[in-house]
């Protein structure tokens, strides 16, 4: 169990056996399947996985932002001493100043008709804070992301670049002084140069305010940079969870290795030799028995088709759901250098 316990003992968020299924056109689809993890104060947990693996769904399930109409969720989400999943919607609304979210496309997360200071003040207005307090907190939040209220006041979101918009979105979350922010692919729509600014900014804020972050991304290099611990998702399940070094240096799950090998890295000395592999994605509506990864897995054996692998401690301390986990360093990872 060692690595699932967060680095320091003050766990603020605990997710236990979370499952979410969506009904679509009469069919049920399990988007998240029996996921458990915890996050400590001031800690960053990275969530990685391919698109459709359930990253966004987990983030939204924690914050109770999934559509009620076609969603069923089970399991428990505990924030400090409160079980969020059983709160009434009014009580949940009162929790929202402590739990915040940042979205992938900052521009579409703003009401196009508002100006910047109203966007940043939104949470405070909803909480009913008096106007005088609002102004000073908006100013503080904007300056935390490097803006000066006087110079940006009155401008509409579309007058800002992508990176600036994402900084405004961060300011909006910070204004309510949360303790945990779910960041759903916050840099995926940004250019490298701007991405670096936003990542640095998130790191500063995390350190200064002892914020916990759940950082969702499909970019393994970005996740490595920002996360203390990393959870790897495959088809709605956590297949591996551990500290950054455990996951990146000695990944135990074959899927983690597949992901790491596919990361495009800048390496002047390496000429890539193409291999002709082609993955067949298994269907999500008709899940196969056994390990979900087995149709793509080079290590699959008979037992993988029969039993779903349980999450167990791997030799290096991380938790892994695999019958035949790896225990050697990832090839090339140790020697692979930037340039």
């Amino acid at each position: 169990m060692s690595s699932d316990i967060a680095l320091n003992d003050e766990i603020i968020l605990e997710v236990r056996n979370l499952s979410v299924s969506f009904s679509r056109g009469g069919k049920e689809m399990k988007a998240v399947d029996d996921v458990s993890f915890s996050v400590a104060a001031g800690e960053t947990l990275g969530l990685v996985g391919e698109s459709g693996s359930g990253k966004t769904t987990i983030g939204r399930a924690i914050l109770r932002l999934l559509p009620d109409a076609n969603t069923k969720s089970e399991g428990a989400v505990r924030y400090k001493k409160t079980y969020l999943n059983t709160l009434s919607s009014t009580d949940m609304r009162h929790m929202r100043d402590r739990l915040q979210m940042i979205f992938q496309d900052p521009l579409s997360s703003f009401n196009p008709r508002r100006n910047v200071e109203d966007i940043v003040a939104e949470g405070l207005v909803i909480q009913g804070k008096p106007a005088s307090e609002r102004k000073s907190r908006v100013e503080a939040a904007l300056s935390a992301v490097g803006f000066d209220l006087a110079t940006v006041a009155g401008r509409k979101p579309h007058q800002f670049s992508g990176g600036q918009c994402q900084r405004i979105a961060i300011a909006r979350s910070l204004a309510v002084e949360p303790e945990l922010i779910v960041c759903d692919e916050p840099v995926a729509s940004l250019d490298v140069s701007v991405q670096a600014q936003v990542i640095n900014l998130l790191q500063d804020i995390r350190e200064n305010r002892n914020l916990a972050l759940i950082f969702i991304s499909h970019d393994l290099a970005v996740v490595k940079n920002v996360s203390d611990r990393v959870a790897v998702l495959y088809m709605g399940r956590i297949v591996e969870i551990g500290t950054g070094p455990q996951i990146y240096e000695r990944p135990a799950h074959p899927y983690t290795r597949t992901l790491l090998e596919a990361v495009p890295v800048v390496d002047a000395t390496r000429k890539i030799e193409p291999d002709g592999k082609r993955t067949v994605m298994p269907s999500r509506n008709r899940p196969q028995g056994g390990c979900a990864f087995r149709s793509r897995c080079p290590r699959a054996t008979q037992i993988c088709a029969e039993t779903v692998p349980a999450v167990t401690p791997a030799p290096r301390g991380q938790m892994v759901a695999c019958h035949h986990p790896h225990d050697e360093p990832a090839p090339g990872m140790a020697v692979r250098t930037q340039r």
Partner: protein, 334 residues
């Protein structure tokens, strides 16, 4: 095709400039682009969003938005494109160049069987018969790695995943047996694992069919290790151009170097501070007089704000860059 072992340029651009009118005055979208791509070689074009990568490709292909004024000389397989009538030019490009765009959803017609969409260009440009085109399409579908190509021929786009659709687009681009394959952000919308497969496929095809290839991406990692040369665009200018391994080993232009160090690397420990590039790309309607990167460049000096740096070569003669104060040359270890 194999009769000419010595490579010659399949595509070259000389002093190419593109301009377009907008509400805020004329936009200098591309300025003085020079490059040349030899047969059987792969070129990577990189740059941030808005740098002009797609416009460069569209201007070459003659599919730029209306109102774009292109000057300069573009040669495809030795023929000056601007000397041709639009119809002839479209025909030449259609036969010699295959292109794959970023978004397969918007490039494929949702109501037409994918097999027919693959055949289309072949029937138009090569005058293939129906049966011939069909067998070619099926052959290509299996070549790009689709299972049961004969069945797939009759399927509609929505029956495929994003990666599969991108393979289908590649098959469609190959129907005329082009000499040049262009992929504009062809893998950007895909998952890393699928992206790797599609890039591998492109590279394999290029080698097998002895084609030239242009890989356009904002991700430097995508072109690294898969291209022979690389062209770095910034604000519509070529700032660095040379052998890929040289440029990555020893970037000389300040922008290239800044871009490389802004990328989080897999060998850095967690919470490493990244180098940022403050400021924003130039406003194309109102470019600075000197180096386009000067307002953001930490090494900029007075000269940079006044004089536009020209392309000059380093020790490696084919490694060229436009910087007044380039980074130092690093000697080859060997």
């Amino acid at each position: 095709m194999d009769a000419t072992p010595a490579s010659h340029p399949i595509l070259s651009c000389k002093a190419m400039t593109c301009e377009m009118d907008s509400v805020s005055g004329p936009l200098q979208i591309l300025q003085d682009i020079n490059f040349s791509l030899d047969t059987r070689r792969a070129l990577g074009i990189v740059g941030e969003s808005g740098a002009g990568k797609s416009m460069l490709i569209k201007a070459i292909m003659g599919i730029a938005p209306r109102g774009l004024r292109t000057k300069g000389r573009i040669e495809l397989d030795g023929q000056d494109l601007s000397a041709l009538k639009p119809k002839q030019r479209a025909k030449l490009i259609g036969r010699k160049v295959g292109i794959v765009f970023q978004n397969p959803m918007s490039s494929l017609n949702p109501f037409v069987q994918i097999g027919r969409q693959i055949e289309e260009a072949g029937c138009i440009h090569l005058g293939m018969s129906k049966a011939e085109a069909r067998s070619r399409a099926i052959e290509l579908l299996s070549f790009v790695g689709l299972p049961d190509p004969e069945d797939c021929y009759n399927y509609y786009p929505h029956q495929f995943s994003g990666g599969m659709k991108q393979r289908i687009m590649i098959a469609a681009a190959l129907i005329c047996q082009p000499d040049l394959l262009i992929a504009d952000e062809a893998t950007t919308a895909l998952d890393v694992t699928v992206q790797k497969e599609v890039l591998d496929l492109l590279q394999t095809i290029q080698a097998q069919r002895q084609m030239s290839m242009i890989l356009v991406s904002h991700n430097l990692g995508v072109v690294a290790g898969r291209t022979d040369e690389i062209l770095v665009l910034y604000g519509g200018n070529v700032v660095e151009y040379g052998p890929t391994s040289e440029v990555f080993r020893n970037p000389r232009h300040r922008y290239t170097e800044a871009l490389l160090s802004a990328m989080p690397a897999m060998d850095q420990p967690a919470h490493t501070r990244l180098r940022t590039i403050p400021g924003q790309p130039p406003n194309l309607a109102n470019r600075p007089a000197g180096c386009p990167f000067a307002p953001r460049c930490p090494s900029a000096q007075a000269k940079c704000h006044e004089v536009m740096p020209a392309m000059s070569a380093g020790v490696h003669p084919s490694h060229r860059f436009a910087c007044h104060f380039p980074l130092a040359e690093i000697a080859h270890v060997q």
